[in-house]
């Protein structure tokens, strides 16, 4: 009898389960039992990075020569001038204000604000110091006085000299008429002709020019006196955005934000004296496939006797606008150069891209296959060059272009309606070779016409990089250098933001470990400390490497005050990342030691084909598991455990964590399914605090038959390994990472559903923290599994 009951019961339950099976949904229950969760609780400590507000546009007041005034807004560039020996404090901060606004006290046009900071020895925060300037102004914030150089405007990016922190501001947005700066009286009101004086340039002082011709230069300012020094007439008039003065105190690189834009260079005759030197633009030889510098004279001395030539600043000797893109020595074309920075002697800059098609490039280039009648400029045909870096970028995005010649790619790029540069990239210039190369391409480009990611409904990638703008470097006290990249999305279309109403459209702030070879989007580290929806523009480190100064330009979405204003704030704690080395997140690659090709990161469940690795004589000892930690900190150790057809383990202390794949008795690597578990520790040799282990499962295969995918999760291959869902905290942002891309629901302490995130690799606690009613506990429930309890700790 009992057996019958049991049988009936089990059948009933089986059937119920089967019924429940058809009811299994992608929808999450609206509540769960808060007492029923997996035994393991995840602790999510606060990130060691913290924010401090320094300067609020439109709210803090600045001292001007005409009294106190509310500071301007639209913060953009930040420069930092370190205090020299004998000077107090840490140094001076200079902030650009991008918009053109009339202001009786500050001055019309754009502007800059300066202030001095010191590190508080007790709190580690930055204090803004009181100053009394040479002209008697006294207080905390000062506007930079541009009266003596004829006002300024559109102050976007700029230059901090790597040598001594001298500052230049870039007057970016190119103006062509006086009325266009007057703005009906809301802009620059004094539109009388300007007489240049005190600039220190031979041949420029004494010139009378139209007011509008006195804009669109790099302007040097002195943060100590909060005054403009001179406009760099000799660097040309153009839509300058970023630049860098190298550590030799002589060489300057400039980027022009235009379509097409220039990359130019100025080398001073005497270090530190930028009034005399040689100017050139970056040109490109499409036959030899190499770049070179073409000298270009910025002068108006050419016809000293003929005043009309001397005074033609608009389209004469001083303004570049389009002229270098002509003739046989035509310049290389760039599509909107933004910020420029330098590290280890190399120059990096962001090319932010452009929505729509590249028809403007066609205008600046002779169409070789089907000649088009193109308007001449000063009697020369446009002949703008396309460099190899762009051809490489195009091939990355459209693999079919690998089969054709470089020139065919050039044809293809400039033909109508082929290429939409929706994402942009970061480029690198190496002065030792004079060559420009592609450093980091934007993307991924889901669903391009050549189907780089054709999986239907594949969803938004974990890391997405588009329209980079601000660029700088941060070196921590431990000597680790990160490239800091600010996005400035040109648009939300084309999968640049996640799908669905109310999706995250934040411009991201990224850090990239400069030790990563062949960096890709996957290597970017998200810095979470930004106000929602803000465009983070300037990024500038303090000399001690502990703080990153950041500008949040007028956010479009709204936040509580003051995050709804343009503001300058500091992210402290870069030195503290090393103290929480156990919180690093592991990523895994399988590499061939002899092959320098970049390898993708292993995703849970991947199949990796041995056949994809280079052929040639080598031993099995060449198969190496490489663990990349995020963030990379030269601290701590890893416990690596490998189990599979052959098992092994290793304690690894040294950065560039490598472990050879375990081999069989004959010394061969064995195909099959492997599980790799990596546990980080804060100290060496597995001492100190133990972090959260991360597990990877992958299948190593010969991939002999044609239906086996290259690296990727292959649904056709059955694995006997049960998927394990793991949650582990992300140290730089208040976020939880997942082992596998998952859909999860968040429940508060009472078990009520408060949030749902689908197909994500991580979730940021700040997205739903306010829904937790002040409690530090919540549950994460992945689809079809039990909930995991998470406790927020200090």
């Amino acid at each position: 009898m009992n057996k019958v009951i049991i049988l009936l019961l089990s059948v009933m339950f089986a059937v119920t389960a089967a019924t429940a099976q058809t009811d299994v949904t992608k929808l999450f229950p609206e509540s769960i039992d808060p007492g029923n969760y997996l035994a393991d609780t995840v602790l999510l400590p606060q990130s060691p990075l913290s924010m401090q507000i320094l300067f609020i546009g439109g709210h803090d007041s600045v001292e001007t020569r005409r009294g106190k005034a509310l500071a301007k807004q639209w913060h953009d560039f930040i420069g930092f001038t370190p205090a020299q020996a004998g000077e107090t404090g840490m140094g001076w901060v200079s902030v650009n204000h991008e918009r053109i606004v009339a202001d009786d006290k500050i001055g019309d046009g754009g502007g800059m604000t300066t202030f001095k900071v010191e590190r508080d020895p007790a709190t580690g925060l930055l204090n803004i110091m009181n100053q009394t300037l040479a002209d008697g102004r006294s207080g905390k914030f000062f506007n930079v006085n541009f009266d003596n150089v004829g006002e300024t405007g559109m102050n976007c990016a700029g230059i901090t000299s790597l040598y001594d922190g001298r500052i230049w501001t870039a007057e970016e947005w190119f103006r062509t008429s006086v009325s266009s700066i007057y703005a009906g009286g809301n802009g620059v009101r004094d539109t009388a002709d300007w007489v240049i004086s005190g600039s220190g340039f031979p041949g420029f002082d004494g010139d009378t020019i139209k007011k509008v011709d006195n804009f669109n230069y790099m302007v040097e300012i002195d943060p100590r006196t909060s005054e403009a020094i001179r406009k760099q007439y000799n660097w040309g008039r153009g839509g300058w955005e970023g630049g860098v003065v190298m550590g030799d105190n002589k060489t300057v690189y400039l980027g022009e934000d235009a379509r097409p834009g220039l990359f130019t260079r100025f080398i001073a005759d005497t270090p530190g004296d930028f009034t005399k030197g040689t100017y050139s633009y970056y040109a490109y030889d499409e036959v030899l496939e190499q770049g070179y510098w073409q000298d270009y004279e910025i002068n108006n001395i050419e016809d000293a006797a003929n005043l009309s030539t001397r005074n033609s600043y608009t389209d004469g000797a001083v303004t570049l606008q389009g002229k270098p893109f002509t003739g046989d020595t035509a310049a290389a074309m760039f599509i909107r150069n933004e910020w420029v920075a330098a590290h280890n002697g190399r120059v990096y800059w962001t090319e932010t891209g452009n929505d729509g098609f590249w028809n403007e490039f066609t205008d600046y280039r002779l169409h070789k296959s089907s000649p088009v009648s193109i308007a001449d400029y000063n009697g020369n045909n446009y002949n703008g060059k396309i460099g190899n870096w762009l051809i490489e970028a195009a091939r990355m995005r459209f693999p079919a272009l690998n089969a054709v010649s470089n020139d065919s790619v050039r044809e293809w790029l400039t033909a109508d309606q082929n290429f939409r540069d929706s994402h942009g990239r970061i480029l690198c210039y190496d002065p030792t070779t004079s060559q420009v190369s592609l450093f980091l391409e934007g993307g991924p480009y889901p669903g391009d016409a050549n189907g780089t990611s054709a999986a239907l409904g594949a969803g938004y990638p974990d890391k997405h990089f588009s329209n980079p703008d601000g660029l700088n470097f941060l070196t921590t006290p431990q000597g680790k250098t990160y490239m800091i990249i600010c996005e400035d999305l040109n648009g939300r279309s084309y999968n640049r933001v996640p799908a669905g109403a109310q999706s995250n459209s934040t411009c991201e702030l990224w850090a990239l470990d400069m030790d990563v070879p062949f960096p890709g989007v996957e290597d970017l580290i998200r810095i979470g400390q930004v106000p929602l929806g803000a465009e983070v523009t300037g990024a500038q480190q303090t000399p001690d490497g502990k703080t990153l100064l950041v500008n949040s330009q007028h956010p479009r979405t709204t936040n509580p005050f003051p995050f709804n204003n343009s503001l300058t704030y500091a992210i402290h704690g870069w030195d503290k990342l090393a103290e929480v080395a156990e919180r690093r997140v592991a990523k895994l690659q399988l590499i061939d030691r002899n092959d320098v090709t970049a390898r993708p990161y292993v995703n849970y469940g991947d199949t990796i084909c041995l056949a994809d690795f280079n052929q040639g004589p080598r031993t099995s000892r060449d198969w190496v598991l490489k663990v990349v930690m995020e963030p990379q900190i030269i601290q701590g150790s890893l416990d690596i455990q490998v189990s599979g057809p052959v098992s092994g383990s290793r304690t690894e202390n040294y950065f560039n964590y490598l472990m050879e794949m375990p081999l069989d008795a004959s010394g061969n690597v064995v195909t099959g399914t492997y599980t790799v578990t990596i546990t980080p520790y804060s100290g060496r040799n597995l001492s100190g605090t133990q972090g959260v282990a991360r597990t990877f499962v992958f299948t190593l295969s010969n991939c002999g038959s044609s239906n086996v995918m290259r690296q990727g999760v292959n649904p056709a291959i059955e694995t006997s390994v049960e998927e394990v869902f793991q949650v582990y905290p992300n140290p730089t942002a208040d976020a939880l990472n997942f082992n596998v891309k998952s859909s999860v629901a968040i429940y508060n302490e009472m078990g009520q559903r408060v949030a749902v995130y689908r197909d994500v690799n991580n979730i940021n606690v700040n997205d739903f923290r306010s829904k937790l009613a002040g409690k530090n506990v919540f549950f994460v429930k992945p689809e079809g599994r039990e909930a995991v309890k998470v406790v927020l700790t200090k």
Binding site: V4, I5, L8, L9, M12, V15, A18, D23, V24, T25, K26, L27, H59, S61, L70, C156, W173, S180, A183, G184, N186, A258, R259, D355, F357, D416, Q417, N418, P446, G447, D448, A449, G451, S453, A454, A455, L456, G457, A458, G459, Y460, G491, S493, Y494, N495, A499, G500, A501, Q502, L532, T557, T558, P560, F561, P562, A755, V756, Y757, R758, N766
Partner: protein, 653 residues
């Protein structure tokens, strides 16, 4: 044998088993997972079809350019392309409205590009193609260029659209936004200005919604049978109505709205919730604001649109206290240099917050300011402020008035100084803005308080709103006719979008349009010239483009009965005069030269009855609660003997 417990147990088990078994055999034919897969596949097929049609259109265009084509064929192919687009519109615009508007189905007008390096981009897409293909003298070369561009754009769109996942939540949200789109854009002929196929296209769009939602029918039924029935009935009814009433002019849009659209809008929300599908609130950043309040059940709901989307202020910070403080400041002439004027001088509550002047009086009686005073009722519903759109947030608007030497001629420091001298103001500010501690009177708090008062002036309480919301049973026939004209033959609804009746573009109402109408400087036909006010051209510096010359913000028709005189320069005193202006085709229609006029210059052909009906409808948009806007009885006092105590509530003039 007496039944034992065991027997009962077995019986109940068998019963349970039986029931379960029945449930098992009658298993729902589709799980959730396969519904979205289904819809995703269908969307993908729709995209492919659309691309194919567009490629065929390009082929026809090539033939035409080579002299081998046929205008009739290309017109037919064009209409097929539009139909193919309408099938996928609800998801295409949901996923990537930006791309659709820029490259596929945007207005046939030049635009300024949004990047730093601004320039004019010429219109592309289906609508400019319509203009060309159906013109009296089609330019084959132009059509060829445009169709090639469209084809490339759709190609790129197609591939980029392969990527986004589809979740149940998207289906319901997209469907509801599409209902708003059908109502405010489809049926008004907004995107088919030449062929006027708004009714046919709405049918296609509606059918696509029905096809998608009906896949959920069983599941909805299992939760709420009546709900499922109503949804089916209303979809069928709507489709039927669209089939049987194809004439653009006579289509009864009000009936369609109240009988089919609003019930569907409500019921799809109920279905969304009944199924336990997550809502927008659960997927968003805690702080990020969305313009549409998804929980609103009616398109004319008071809270359809989130007022705080347009403001810096957060809803959590908005309360009676901050509104009260803002109201005091609004009526307080202390903000003006000579203590004689306040915001209420030009925005008087008993004139629907206007002043009845063509252009407001300038400070010191020295002439007038540049433009007519617009109403502040519902002014919060806008992405930009002033006729020339130069202020980007409500909180930024006050800055301009303060500084302007024809208005208040003050600066912030002076304002802070004055206000802080009043103990009452100081205390109020401290209470309302405790986060500032000892210095609560600053730019942020002053602007926030004033804006709060403006936010409180937002209300949709006209008899028309009440009728649509079924709070009122009847409304006059002329109002109904007027509404249908407004949204149909007269074309008003293609710029004054329902339900805000201003320039916020549906269905998300996130951006405010401006238009070039060719408003004259005088009513007298003999004397009139194009009014010289440059409008948006001289607003923000970044917008100094010729396509914005004489372009002005599209303000709201709500409460228009009370806000005479009309237009940016107050040129018209009566609504009849305004109607005459539009009936003639605006400035260009009246023979003035108006470069880039966006208002179609063709006469509307409205007769006197129609004009009278339109005016009746516009009058029905007057709020019934205007009496609640009162002046404060007194203003905060200053220490004894202060000259500030002599100031008058609302100012002297």
């Amino acid at each position: 044998m007496k039944p034992t417990v065991t027997h009962w147990l077995i019986i109940s088990l068998l019963l349970a088993f039986g029931l379960t078994f029945t449930a098992f055999t009658h298993k729902p034919s589709k799980t959730y997972e396969s519904i979205t897969d289904n819809i995703r596949l269908s969307y993908n097929q729709g995209l492919e079809s659309f691309y194919q049609e567009v490629k065929d259109l390009q082929a026809e265009a090539d033939k035409l350019a080579e002299g081998k084509g046929d205008v009739e064929n290309i017109q037919k192919q064009f209409l097929q392309s539009r139909d193919a687009f309408k099938k996928i519109e609800y998801l295409a615009t949901y996923y990537d409205d930006e791309f659709v508007t820029l490259f596929i189905n945007g207005a046939p007008l030049p635009k300024v590009t949004q990047d730093d390096n601004r320039s004019i981009s010429q219109p592309v897409g289906l609508q400019i193609l319509e203009e060309n293909i159906f013109s009296d003298e089609p330019d084959a070369k132009e059509i060829q260029i445009l169709s090639k561009e469209l084809s490339a754009s759709v190609r790129d769109f197609l591939f980029s659209q392969k990527v986004p996942a589809l979740y149940d939540r998207f289906v319901f949200e997209a469907a509801r936004f599409e209902l708003i789109r059908i109502f405010s854009l489809g049926l008004t002929g907004f995107d088919t200005p030449v062929t006027l196929r708004g009714i046919e296209e709405s049918h296609i769009a509606m059918q696509a919604l029905k096809d998608a939602i009906s896949l959920y029918d069983e599941l909805i039924s299992s939760r709420n049978e009546n709900l499922a029935k109503r949804i089916r009935k209303n979809f069928d009814g709507a489709l039927n109505y669209l089939e049987e009433n194809q004439d653009f002019d006579s289509f009864d849009r009000l009936h369609f709205l109240t009988t089919y659209l609003n019930p569907l809008y409500r019921d799809l929300l109920k279905a969304h919730k009944a199924l336990g599908i997550e809502t927008i609130d659960e997927t968003a950043h805690a702080r990020e604001k969305f313009s549409i309040n998804y929980d609103a059940e009616n398109i004319f709901s008071k809270d359809l649109i989130n007022k705080f989307y347009y403001t810096e202020q957060l809803e959590e910070q908005y309360d009676d206290e901050v509104v009260e403080l803002g109201k005091l400041l609004f009526f307080d002439p202390i903000l003006s240099d000579k203590l004689e004027r306040s915001c209420a001088s030009c925005h008087q509550p008993d004139r629907a917050f206007t002043d009845g002047q063509k252009k407001s009086l300038a400070r010191g009686f020295d002439g007038t300011v540049d433009r007519n005073s617009p109403t502040l009722l519902n002014a919060v519903y806008s992405s930009r402020y002033f006729y020339d759109l130069r202020a980007e947030r409500l909180e930024k608007q006050i800055h301009h008035v303060l500084f302007n030497d024809k208005e208040f001629n003050m600066n912030f420091f002076q304002v802070f100084n004055r206000l802080s001298k009043s103990p009452e103001y100081a205390e109020r500010f401290r209470n309302v803005f405790p986060q500032f501690g000892t210095n609560p009177i600053n730019r942020y708090s002053v602007a926030t308080a004033l804006s709060s008062y403006i936010i409180s002036l937002g209300s949709w309480e006209s008899e028309f709103d009440q009728y649509v919301r079924e709070e009122k049973d009847e409304i006059a026939d002329e109002v109904k006719r007027g509404f249908n004209l407004f949204m149909g033959k007269a074309g008003c609804g293609t710029c004054h979008f329902a339900p805000t009746f201003n320039g916020l573009v549906p269905p998300l109402y996130q951006e405010n349009e401006s238009e070039i109408l060719g408003v004259p400087d005088s009513k007298d036909p003999a004397k009139m010239q194009l009014d010289s006010d440059p409008g948006r051209y001289k607003g923000l510096l970044q917008e100094q483009f010729e396509i914005y010359m004489h372009s002005f913000k599209t303000v709201t028709i709500r409460n228009i009965e009370k806000t005479a005189p009309y237009m940016h320069n107050g040129v018209y005193d009566k609504l009849e005069e305004v109607m005459d202006f539009y009936n003639k085709g605006g400035g260009e229609g009246m023979g003035l030269e108006v470069p880039y006029q966006t208002l179609p210059p063709d006469p509307l052909g409205l007769n006197d009855q129609e004009i009278s009906d339109l005016i009746a409808f516009m009058k029905s948009l007057t709020n019934t609660d205007l009496h609640r806007h009162t002046k404060p009885e007194k203003l905060p006092s200053f220490p004894e003997g202060s000259e500030f105590n002599k100031r008058v509530v609302g100012g002297i003039y």
